[in-house]
């Protein structure tokens, strides 16, 4: 009955709650980065403390996604689970490849556009900007297939009873 998905009083057998976990993972990361950037810009340690809720939110969401996808990550999957896992990895690949191409295209084109049109376009600076980008890329790469599974699987309550 997936009792392992009753985590801290929240029933992640329900799809709605699993979707909240997906959003929490990425929202937590955005909060974390926003707090660290603000702290860096304002030279304020108080803002750096603001990164803690983001870190906790991201960590909790990440852990929930891992728990949800655990049965799909073993060698003991049956044909339906294998199909769900393959679909999730395929969709994740499409999203990650698409985002990577858009980002690389932007990196290539932005300086030229800025020079030609005089636009003030953001360009990532080595060190300061690339670290969050690389860590975000890592986070998405690792969690997105699990997030797709958690997002699309129906409520487990009515189909999950072994009785």
């Amino acid at each position: 009955m997936r009792e392992d998905l009753l985590i801290a009083g929240i029933d992640f057998r329900r799809r709605t709650n699993r979707r909240f976990a997906c959003v929490a993972t990425y929202l937590g990361y955005i909060l974390l980065i926003a707090a660290l950037y603000t702290a860096f810009e304002l030279r304020s340690i108080v803002w750096a403390l603001g990164a803690i809720p983001g870190l906790l939110l991201m960590g909790y969401g990440w852990w929930v996604l891992n728990q949800v996808a655990a049965p799909y990550s073993t060698d003991q999957t049956d044909e339906r689970q294998t199909q769900v896992r393959n679909q999730a990895f395929f969709r994740a690949y499409q999203v990650i490849a698409g985002l990577s191409l858009i980002f690389l295209f932007y990196l290539d084109e932005a300086p030229q556009l800025a020079a030609k049109k005089g636009w003030d376009l953001w360009l990532p600076q080595p060190g300061q900007d690339f670290q969050p980008i690389i860590f975000g890329y890592l986070l998405v790469t690792i969690t997105l297939p699990h997030a797709f599974i958690a997002w699309q699987d129906p409520d487990y309550l009515d189909v999950d009873s072994p009785a």
Binding site: T77, D78, E79, R80, Y156, V159, D160, P162, A163
Partner: protein
Amino acid sequence: MTNSKVNSTNSLFNRIGVLRAERHLSRQELADALGVNYQTIGYMERGDYNPSLELAFRASEFFGLPIEAIFSRQPFRPLSEQLYGSNKPTQG
């Protein structure tokens, strides 16, 4: 419970739920017999999953019934109607 619809574009109906209930089997017992996860039995009963041909044959062998008695592309008529539907008492 008799009919399970997979989805609107690729409909497959099955009698897994009825057959399982007739034989007093739990989802776990049927899943063990067919070599799948018990959740997959639930998904099949609810019509959220189309089994592979191999799994359909395994179900057929397990229940001792032809495949067309378990799976169909058309909705199944209730078993009672199939058995007794043509023997309606005549009036007068």
